[in-house]
Amino acid sequence: MAGDEDQVGDTRGAVDDVLVVDGLSRRFGELRAVDEVSFRIAPGETYGLLGPNGAGKTTTISMVAGLIRADAGTVRVAGQRMSPSHPQPKRHIGLVPQDLAIYPELSARENLVFFGRLQGMGGADLKGRVQEVLELIGLADRAKDKSKNFSGGMKRRLNIGIGLLHEPHLLILDEPTVGVDPQSRNSILESVERLSTAGMAVLYTTHYMEEAERLCDRIGIIDTGRIQAEGTRDELIRLTGGVDQIRLAGTGDLTHAIESLRELPAVEQVDHDGLALRLTVHGAPTAVAEIVTRATGAGMSLADVEITRPDLESVFLQLTGKALRD
């Protein structure tokens, strides 16, 4: 893990955490794929591992899911130590791999029943749960069709449904929207939001900044196998010194407006830019209403208001020196 100075907002205790990853490392030959990665996920929390391809996301997930052994460090799921040779902790996780982990020759129902049995389910419980999941992923009417005949989006939904079947404490989604059309992508993101709301802990890897911003309560920015920074979106932006900007375009008494706006605590700086004012602001979404009121009250007639916020892309660029999709 990066130095403690990069750790932000992780003050919760370990007792309630569904997942506790501590000092996880893994080498492949000379390559240090994962280097002392640590993070925690609480129930109902969606944690995003955001990083470019080859950053170490999938290797981290492979160790969290007990697919491969860690060279160092520990993974605890629901309080149990995870290891490839220990079946018990694996009951608590639902893995949705990046590749479509479904059998093309089996139908949607057969795929679900197969993996349900491997999870130790059976009888009426399994039958009922399979039907629930089929309805949840919108494949109830195609349950008997072989999955090889499904569209890419349907396959992705089935892939996620298998991970949900046994109602795990922790759902691990490894880049679940890669190669998915926009409609299916939105459907997947909505599903993840619903699961999180229902109390499921979610570990979500992606290299799509907008997905991380939309879904994740906290984000770990990972690159070259290390967590470079961690926190909520706003914490990460503050960590890198990012501030919001508001542009007020209009006419009237701009000089009076500038003086009035500088009195607001959220406003750090006000510059005159032709027929507009450019404000550097902390917390633009909450401050914008008062800023507009002050400006118009000072005699400015507003024609346009534009808010520009720093995003995770810029945070990533600042932390790693490269773009997220490099």
């Binding site: 007990g66 996780i93 893995l95 590749d99 982990a101 999870q119």
Partner: protein
């Protein structure tokens, strides 16, 4: 164990649905058996002997000479027609192919035998006599040899002072008496399958080595289609995945080999003998073949590598084991060939088809199970490049 059966059942269902097993483990070998049997069958038909004609010149009123002709006509299994002609005609018929061979028995043949002096019998084989001519010459040689033996016997009897009147009876006895020494088929002879039987057994053994490969291919398919990580995330030991693939190979091997032996036996009229003994042989050879799967699974990183390794092993063991034709070698190489599970399987089926039971096939069975144990140990010793299971 329940999870292993779940994975095995799902795997078998998929293999049956995509028809790959049915095609490569049953249809293709049966078709190949049919083609090879046509070739072998054609060769066997070519060796069938046709009608044979002997143009014989024999002295009038010579009972012994007549006895030679009677012996010739009385040989079971051969269709021989004897035409009595004069010496010149006999020579001419043999030359122009009218007769398969010409037989010239000289005047005084019977007297020569009785007196023990003997005489020369001439057999003329024409250029077009072919295999029938050679067979007929061989048969005539055998008959004449018996008469020659009679000559020796009468000479000996005369030297011992046996009355001349009795010498004729002695000569008659020697030429007509049943042999006092007979040949009985030994074990080596019993172990030889018929050509069709060897073909069915060999092809079943060869294609078994391909059939068990479906387990490895299935493991690679899990990796390629992305289901292996999900399987490994299930609450079970990683080795359960490998065991289920081994079980798939084993069950497919049992079913495919049984079908090939039954269907091949019916198609080509081969009886492999004792059912329990044959079942034990099938169990043994499938166990031996399945053990190879674990080695391939360890060393092959990709489906392509697994395919190549499997093909090399199958063809090498199959050909060396006598899947297409029997191989014979002496010394160390011969012993190594004997340790080949395909060879042991074919040898075992030879014993059962010759009437052997479970106790008689202990050797081949031990070889096959021993092979499985050794290969199983090797599979744990070689570096794991493929499964990480």
């Amino acid at each position: 164990m329940g999870r292993i059966w779940t994975m095995t059942a799902a795997d078998l269902k998929q293999r049956i649905r995509d028809r790959s097993v049915i095609i490569f483990a049953i249809v293709v070998p049966l078709a190949l058996m049919g083609i090879l049997n046509l070739i072998i069958g054609g060769a066997e038909e070519g060796t069938e002997l046709g009608d044979m004609t002997v143009a014989a010149s024999v002295p009038q009123g010579d009972a012994s000479a007549d006895g030679v002709l009677s012996a010739l006509e009385g040989i079971e299994g051969l269709s021989i027609t004897v035409n009595q002609v004069d010496e010149d005609r006999a020579r001419a018929d043999a030359r122009d192919g009218t007769a398969t061979v010409g037989l010239l028995i000289p005047e005084g043949f019977g007297a020569g035998l009785s007196s023990g002096e003997g005489c020369d019998v001439t057999v003329i084989e024409g250029d077009g006599a072919g295999l029938e001519g050679q067979v007929l010459t061989s048969v005539l040689t055998g008959i004449v040899d018996r008469f020659a033996a009679a000559t020796v016997a009468t000479q000996a009897a005369g030297a011992l002072g046996v009355p001349a009147a009795d010498l004729q009876d002695i000569a008659q006895d020697v030429t007509t008496a049943a042999p006092s020494i007979s040949l009985t088929d030994g074990q080596a002879s019993d172990e030889q399958l018929s050509d069709s039987g060897a073909l069915v057994a060999g092809q079943a053994g060869l294609f078994l080595l391909f059939t068990v490969g479906f387990g490895v291919l299935s493991l690679n398919a899990e990796r390629d289609q992305g289901t292996l990580p999900r399987l490994l995330s299930m609450p079970m030991r990683p080795s359960a995945v490998l065991i289920s693939k081994g079980l798939v190979s084993f069950l497919l091997g049992i079913v495919a080999t049984t079908i090939l032996l039954v269907a091949g036996g019916l198609m080509f009229d081969v009886n492999f003998g004792s059912l329990p003994a044959v079942a034990l042989l099938v169990l043994s050879v499938v166990t031996a073949a399945t053990s190879l799967m674990f080695v391939i699974a360890r060393v092959a990183k990709t489906a392509e590598q697994a395919n190549i390794a499997q093909s090399i092993i199958a063809v090498t063991l199959g050909v060396a084991g006598g899947a297409f034709f029997p191989l014979a070698a002496s010394g160390l190489l011969g012993r190594l060939l004997d340790l080949n599970p395909v060879a042991a399987f074919i040898r075992g089926l030879g014993i059962t088809s010759g009437g052997g039971g479970v106790a008689d096939i202990a050797g081949p069975v031990l070889i096959m199970f021993g092979f499985a144990v050794v290969v199983g140990v090797i599979s744990r010793l070689v570096p794991d490049r493929g499964t990480s299971l």
